[in-house]
């Protein structure tokens, strides 16, 4: 009896946590036995053989010949992007017409990335709604969320379910309004955001355009459309940006330094960075609703992440505004171009303070360039960010080898190629549009690189291939607070530089850390 007590690895006096539990000899023994006696295991050599085979060129070719299955795609769905855009407006509750499960995912996705509560509701469609249409869910849903959460605006997007059965948002919302779910003059912009089309950046675009066109074109037929009277002001749209908290604040700081009269369309830097002071802020900050209407009069709109705003920008163009499009500008030249465009549009000179910051970033690069020069990188992410990062890597003298974008198309591919071709450091680089992280796995095995840049999911690639991961992208779940740091502007370039350098130095240390073995090069000065 006593013997069996002892043989248990868990006992009340010393309860082991998951990190250690299954490493106990009892478990190891049990697993081994289970495997041999019950699992009819493939011999270990065979497993090893196959593992090695998946690293080969032969496997890579088979992997790239995949036609139907996506394995570890690096993209999210439209409503996620729609919510991202919606929460950037004052007191706005994102409302997703469709099934509630999707919305639970969106909320947890954002909460895990921003470490903040993320408010969003759904119309909780069930089977009968799928059969008879979701009108009643919309009517009840708008009424409930309006009275429960007291929003100033509800921004409606859709899940696939509502899209498949063909629910008409415009008609449904009008119906709900007529039924008294919400006041007649309560703002409910909307966008159809089917997930089987595009990705989260498409959803961002649709919702942004949905909100602007709702306000500018007569609020779904309830008021006369606005007439544009140009004023000396520019609009800025950030796009789907994992660093929105840091970036928006940095952006505002730079624009204020320049003395620019600007309006940010969708500023979610406050709602995803609320203070802990005993007050729960379901809504915080954001673009004022009156400013959405004002924005039509601005002389120009600048989109910082063009692939997130394709439809929005052409809509704004049609309204007669000038537009300028960037692709997540990171680094010296990209920031130069961005600031010069702002300067050109507004006639405001770039102040000395910003020029000094530019010099500081150049200085930082100069101090450290030897460590990055010639290092080979693989990177993946959203279309704009991969372009921005590629540009910065080239600027640092690093070599982007594999540039992969699951939600990138032909246009992205062309842009990425042009970028690589313009620099001698890009000549070994290849561009992979529409590919997933299992493709990336083959790339990393067959054509190894020094470092990998990507989101949290790339940690499995890091584990499998041994390629050190620099976490930049969306989502970042397993490291905290990166979103508080800007990656735009010269300050942002500095952050990205430091993240890259930190990994390089960490690797150098890791490579030299074994006492009495490799630590003769484990130095305090790097």
């Amino acid at each position: 009896m006593e013997r069996t007590e002892k043989a248990k690895s868990q006992n009340a006096d010393n309860v082991l946590d998951h990190f250690n539990l299954f490493r106990q000899p009892q478990y190891l023994e049990m697993f081994e036995k289970k495997k041999c006696e019950f699992e009819n295991p493939v011999p270990a050599e065979e497993v090893e053989k196959i593992r090695e085979w998946t690293k080969s060129w032969e496997y890579r070719e088979k992997n790239f010949a995949r036609e139907a299955i996506s394995i570890n795609p690096s993209k999210a769905c439209q409503p996620l992007g729609a919510i991202f855009a919606a929460v950037g407006f004052e007191g706005t509750l994102p409302f997703v017409h469709g099934s509630q499960g999707c919305v639970a995912y969106f909320r947890s996705h954002f909460s895990r990335h921003f470490k903040e509560p993320s408010s969003c509701v759904s119309s909780s469609m069930t089977e009968d709604a799928a059969v008879f249409g979701g009108l009643n869910n919309m009517i009840d849903g708008l009424a409930n969320s309006f009275s429960l959460y007291k929003p100033k605006m509800i921004a409606v997007s859709t899940t696939c379910m509502a899209e498949v059965i063909g629910d008409d948002l415009n008609a449904f919302i009008k119906n709900a309004r007529d039924k008294g779910s919400i006041p007649q003059d309560f703002d409910v912009p909307f966008a159809h955001t089917p997930s089987f089309v595009g990705s989260h950046i498409t959803g961002y675009d649709n919702m942004m355009k949905g909100i602007l066109s709702y306000f500018w074109d007569g609020k779904a037929g309830t008021v006369p459309p606005l007439e544009r009277k140009p004023v000396d002001r520019i609009n800025i749209i950030g796009g789907f940006d994992p660093y929105t908290v840091g970036n928006m604040r940095e952006l505002k700081r730079m624009l204020s330094l320049m003395g620019v009269n600007y309006l940010i369309l969708s500023d979610n830097s406050d709602v995803w960075d609320t203070p802990t002071d005993g007050t729960f802020r379901m809504y915080d900050g954001g673009t004022k609703l009156t400013e959405i209407s004002d924005a039509i009069h601005s002389k120009a709109t600048v989109s910082i992440q063009g692939f997130c705003t394709e439809k929005t920008i052409s809509y704004i163009n049609e309204k007669g505004q000038q537009t300028a499009v960037f692709h997540c500008p990171i680094g010296v030249r990209a920031t130069d171009a961005f600031l010069m465009e702002i300067s050109k549009l507004t006639g405001k000179p770039i102040p000395e303070e910003l020029e000094k910051e530019r010099g500081r970033l150049v200085d930082a690069i100069a101090d450290s360039n030897a460590h990055i020069h010639g290092k080979r990188f693989a990177l993946f992410g959203d279309p704009d960010m991969t372009l921005g990062l590629t540009g910065f890597l080239l600027e640092l003298g690093a070599e982007p080898i594999h540039v992969l974008c699951t939600n990138g198309g032909k246009e992205w591919e062309e842009k990425a190629k042009t970028l690589l071709e313009a620099s001698p450091f890009g000549k070994n680089g290849s561009v992979y549009a529409g590919k997933d992280l299992w493709h990336m796995r083959s790339l990393l095995f067959t054509e190894p690189v020094d470092f990998l840049i990507g989101n949290t999911y790339a940690k499995y690639l890091e584990r499998d291939t041994g390629t050190p991961l620099i976490r930049i992208g969306f989502p970042i779940f397993d490291r905290h607070h990166h979103h508080r740091y800007p990656i735009w502007g010269y300050q942002g370039g500095l952050n990205v530089l430091v993240w890259i350098l930190n990994k390089i130095f960490d690797e150098m240390d890791k490579n030299t850390i074994v006492p009495a073995k490799s630590d003769y090069s484990y130095d305090i000065i790097r």
Binding site: V332, R333, D336, A337, L339, M340, S343, P349, I350, E355, R358, V362, D363, I365, A366, N369, A370, H373, G374, L394, E395, L396, G397, S423, P424, F425, P515, A516, D519, Y520, S521, D523, I524, I525, R526
Partner: protein, 459 residues
């Protein structure tokens, strides 16, 4: 202080020093570096010089007697690599406080030695004196002597208070300490006619290891390297070596000269930097060894090795020639012998527009003139302002220098490559020259410089 000032005078009188010989008696007494100008920027002190000269001895305890400043700022600050003990990387100091200053720090020092001996059982303890104990009159030598008797291991006093002079003086004081207390105190277990000492090589970035395989191949044994990657016993018994190579002539010339005097070990000055210099060094070592009883065939073996290694290096360098040919280099260096780097750079077609000769001997200067031509720009002393102007005017494509001039180069928007002690790439030997050229190539071709040279595009 009399022993210290006597030591300093001894070092100043060093007869093997070319510079010394050319001075008048009066000048010589004043020492090597010019009197410091209060308020003007200056380099390291004698303590720093002594510490960096000996710190590469890996298995001894380097104990700094003084307040926290001295060791606190110098602990493990040199990329001098060890193939064995890591003891030299620990920061040991008596960290004396106010009461010690009032009542004297000798007791604390003695206790510190006791504790460190008990804890680490090192083959020896090196005790460095600093300004404060020297000022309050702690008798370092007496404490070390007592400790040595009590604990039965060598306890070596290094008289190097910062106020006694420059870093370079400290290097020499460290050498004196080795001569007085270490070298010749033990006998080697084995000796061969192929034993050499390498003096003034610190194994920075593992450079000695790039050269050692060449010696190994020739059957030449390094009895002691002073002081890179060395053990106490090697240095204590290195007086039985047959020949010596002096690598950094200024820092430790006193060791080489006195060992020749005391033990009859002939030495030559050489360098591991540059292909022809590396070959020359191998040749000289072989020649000295053969003169002192090594087999004649060593000479032939050396020539074969040289031919083979040179060919290998040239093949590798060939690829860079095209890209580097005609590029203009300004060379500002203290530690490494500039003429050897000059010839190496010329070997890949680069143009050396100027080189510093601050630490070069007359002979060095003659050599530089020989390679670079009479109108060669030899720079004795250069303020950052002058350097800036020169970089601007000479339109050099790259500056090779120590870390301190880095910022001057960046200001002048000229690419810069670190070739002094804080560098992390090894440039010694045939391999090293290829490394250096590769680093120059990378530095020159980094896209940063374009960003740096072009003004903000809106200007």
């Amino acid at each position: 202080m009399t022993t210290l000032s006597a030591k300093i005078q001894e070092v100043f009188q060093e007869p093997a020093c070319q510079k010394n010989r050319s001075k008048s008696d009066k000048e010589r007494k004043k020492g090597c570096t010019k009197i410091l100008q209060p308020g003007a920027a200056a380099g390291g002190c004698a303590f720093d010089g002594a510490k960096i000269a000996l710190q590469p001895i890996t298995d001894v305890v380097h104990l700094v007697h003084g307040p926290i400043a001295c060791e606190g700022n110098s602990w493990d600050n040199r990329g001098s690599k060890s193939s064995g003990s890591k003891l030299y990387r620990l920061g040991f100091t008596t960290d004396i406080n106010e009461m010690d200053v009032i009542y004297g720090g000798e007791k604390r020092l003695f206790k510190a030695i006791k504790e460190v001996v008990e804890k680490y059982r090192p083959p020896a303890v090196f005790v460095y004196n600093t300004c404060i104990p020297a000022l309050i009159g702690d008798d370092l030598e007496a404490v070390c002597k007592a400790a040595k008797e009590k604990f039965g291991i060598p306890v070596v006093p290094i008289q190097s208070p910062g106020f006694s002079g420059s870093k370079n003086l400290g290097n020499k004081l460290a050498g004196e300490a080795l001569l007085d207390y270490v070298i010749g105190t033990e006998e080697p277990e084995v000796t061969t006619p192929y034993d050499i000492n390498i003096i003034g090589e610190y194994n920075l970035a593992g450079e000695l290891w790039q050269v050692k395989p060449l010696f190994d191949q020739l059957g030449i044994r390094i009895a002691a390297c002073i002081s890179g990657d060395s053990r106490y016993k090697e240095i204590a018994s290195c007086h039985r070596a047959r020949a010596a190579m002096l690598v950094c002539s200024k820092a430790m010339i006193n060791i080489a000269r006195k060992m020749e005097e005391r033990y009859g070990i002939p030495f030559f000055e050489g360098s591991f930097y540059g292909i022809s210099d590396m070959s020359e060094a191998l040749r000289n070592i072989a020649t000295l060894l053969v003169q002192r009883g090594a087999e004649e065939e060593l000479l032939a073996k050396t020539e074969i090795l040289i031919r083979h290694e040179e060919q290998k290096a040239w093949r590798k360098l060939e690829t860079y020639k095209k890209r580097l040919s005609g590029k203009r280099v300004l060379l500002i260096t203290g530690g490494v012998k500039s003429w050897s780097v000059v010839s190496a750079l010329q070997e890949v077609g680069m143009v050396v527009v100027g080189t510093s000769v601050k630490k070069s001997t007359e002979e060095d200067k003659q050599r530089i003139k020989k390679i670079m031509g009479e109108e060669a720009h030899l720079i004795e002393e250069m303020t950052p302002k002058e350097m800036y102007k020169m970089l601007k005017d000479a339109q050099a494509d790259i500056l090779l220098s120590g870390g301190r001039s880095q910022f001057v180069a960046l200001k002048a928007k000229v690419p810069w490559l670190d070739i002094n002690q804080e560098r992390h790439h090894a440039y010694a030997g045939y391999e090293g020259m290829v490394n250096l050229v590769d680093q120059i190539d990378r530095t020159l071709n980094n896209p940063l410089w374009e960003a740096l040279r072009t003004p903000a595009p809106w200007d």
